[in-house]
């Protein structure tokens, strides 16, 4: 197995083992998206239109994002609490690969998280989950998940330098829900927020997911959304790689890793 893959797999395996040792940590990741979806579905109860779809798919996307963000924040904080961050950074393996392995496990949980929200909405609120184009729905879902994970990588790099990663995690969760228009069209947001919406992969991802769920023969808009999301995701990965290198160099040079 190539060394990069071996590092990613080891980090993935460790993250899974940690989760199995203390599975209750999944609760903070799912509670906010579940509650937000519950509230939205109750508000939309009497409404006519595509509201159920907005609430359920938006809730699922929020589940993915919440999970990724928490996991990115705690991936670093956890190592700090255990006193293992220095060892992780000191290994000859690239820190980005270690975090990427953790991110893959988070992405997996994110997907399970989304499915749980879809299932609960379907059973409790009787929301129809008929998907018009299952293949493109699955494709857009997986790509959105990758995009969310790549965004998480950027945050994870910044979290190495702060002891307030937990606070960032809580603070960044809701703004992304709002800015990405997870449960409402971004046209409702003030125009000055739109640039922030457009640089977020999940904004394009959730739109693509909605189109695939609602149209059997998807329009060109679907492919535009997917393409833009892919480009943004690639940019996220490039930025994350650059930041990890910078952060790693700085923390080695200053010698303040565990204290940051």
């Amino acid at each position: 197995m190539p060394q990069t893959l071996r590092v990613i797999y080891s980090a993935f395996r460790m993250a899974m083992l940690h989760w199995m040792a203390d599975p209750q940590w999944v609760i903070p990741n799912v509670i906010a998206p579940f509650v937000f979806t519950f509230v939205a579905l109750t508000l939309f109860k009497e409404a006519t239109g595509p509201f159920g779809l907005y609430a359920v798919l938006g809730g699922g996307m929020m589940g993915m994002w919440g999970n990724t963000l928490y996991s990115s924040g705690f991936a670093i904080s956890f190592e700090k609490w255990q006193g293992t961050l220095e060892e992780v950074v000191a290994t000859p393996s690239n820190l980005l690969h270690v975090i990427a392995g953790k991110s893959v496990s988070n992405a997996l949980f994110g997907l399970v998280n989304m499915m749980a929200i879809l299932l609960i909405a379907s059973l409790v609120f009787r929301v129809s989950l008929d998907v018009a184009n299952p293949v493109l729905f699955a494709l857009s879902l997986v790509l959105t998940l990758l995009s969310v994970s790549a965004l998480g990588l950027i945050f994870a790099s910044a979290f190495v330098l702060t002891r307030s990663a937990q606070v960032f995690t809580n603070g960044l969760e809701f703004p992304i829900y709002v800015i990405s228009g997870s449960m409402f069209p971004i046209g409702l947001l003030p125009f000055w927020v739109h640039p922030a919406s457009y640089i977020l992969g999940p904004t394009w991802g959730i739109e693509a997911i909605r189109i695939a769920a609602g149209q059997e023969n998807v329009s060109l808009t679907f492919w535009i959304n997917v393409s833009v999301m892919l480009l943004i995701t690639l940019a996220y990965v490039a930025i994350a790689a650059f930041l990890f290198k910078k952060v790693e160099t700085k923390s080695r040079r200053d010698g303040t890793l565990g204290q940051a």
Binding site: D22, Q24, W25, I27, P28, I31, A32, V35, F36, F38, V39, A40, T42, L43, F44, K45, E46, A47, T48, G49, F51, Y54, W81, T162, R163, S164, Q166, V167, F168, N170, G171, F174, P175, Y177, V178, M183, F184, P185, L188, L189
Partner: protein
């Protein structure tokens, strides 16, 4: 005098302690960002309903005020339960239990600064409601609103102590902090009336002081006086005091078991 001293030092220390992991600038940023993003999310969901003709414009004020009051829970529930978490993680639990200080002021005092911190969060949220979402505060009975916000924060801190006391028995009290901070959005009438919930679970709403507080807050903003909302405040105080007493019972019972079994942090 000694009891008061314990009460105040406990209050001040518990507030200062959170800055061992939270930078003050970050605290300020959170104070400004969290209320705005939570309120915005639900207001935009409401506006989505308005633009499609499924709700009247009044829903914006309803949601904005409900969420402004609910931000209290970050201070009075999340932060108060988190005191228990940090006692366990930071190794201060043995010191807290070894002190000869009277337990009641020690236990209740630790939540009290969070009451005022929560009131500040609500005030910031009201500013957002007025200037960003155009909520009309022109008819507000200011005195009634201040009393409502204070009593809601106080009774919710009591509820935080109840869950915090209960969660002494668990390894990760933070899990309870997350659950109870968020479920309030479902049960307390922040975004929709309690009677919109499924009938079998509506009774749960009335175990949370916040349910009465949000209702009273909306009435005070609409112009109701203290006398008009006194019955709601009375109900809220009863629920709040019961919470504090139950929380204290949990705390003492935990202390008893921990001393008896010699498994302080493992209980």
């Amino acid at each position: 005098m000694s009891l008061l001293r314990i009460f105040f030092s406990s209050a001040v220390f518990s507030f200062k302690a959170q800055f061992s992991w939270l930078y003050p600038p970050m605290w300020l940023a959170m104070k400004l960002v969290m209320p705005l993003s939570q309120m915005s999310f639900f207001v935009f969901v409401g506006q989505f309903l308005i633009t499609t003709g499924n709700a009247s414009v009044d829903i914006v004020a309803y949601i904005a005020i409900g969420n402004a009051m609910t931000v209290l829970s970050w201070n009075t529930i999340f932060s108060v339960i988190n005191i228990t978490s940090h006692d366990k993680w930071d190794g201060t639990l043995p010191l807290v239990l070894a002190t000869p200080a009277h337990r009641l002021p020690l236990f209740v005092g630790r939540a009290m600064i969070h009451v005022f911190d929560g009131m500040l969060s609500v005030a910031i949220s009201f500013v957002y409601a007025v200037f960003l979402f155009g909520v009309n505060f022109g008819n507000t009975d200011i005195l009634a609103l201040i009393v409502v916000v204070f009593l809601t924060a106080f009774t919710m801190a009591g509820f935080g102590l109840l869950i915090g006391g209960f969660s002494f028995y668990f390894r990760n009290p933070l899990v309870f902090a997350n659950i109870f901070t968020f479920v309030l959005l479902i049960f307390c009438g922040a975004n929709f009336p309690v009677h919109d919930l499924p009938q079998p679970i509506q009774f749960i709403s009335y175990i949370f002081p916040l349910t009465y507080g949000i209702d009273a807050g909306r009435k005070a903003i609409a112009g109701a006086t203290l006398i008009d909302i006194a019955p709601l405040l009375g109900q809220m105080l009863i629920v709040g005091f019961i919470s504090i007493v139950l929380g204290y019972v949990f705390f003492r019972s935990f202390e008893h078991v921990a001393r008896k079994t010699g498994r302080l942090e493992a209980v």
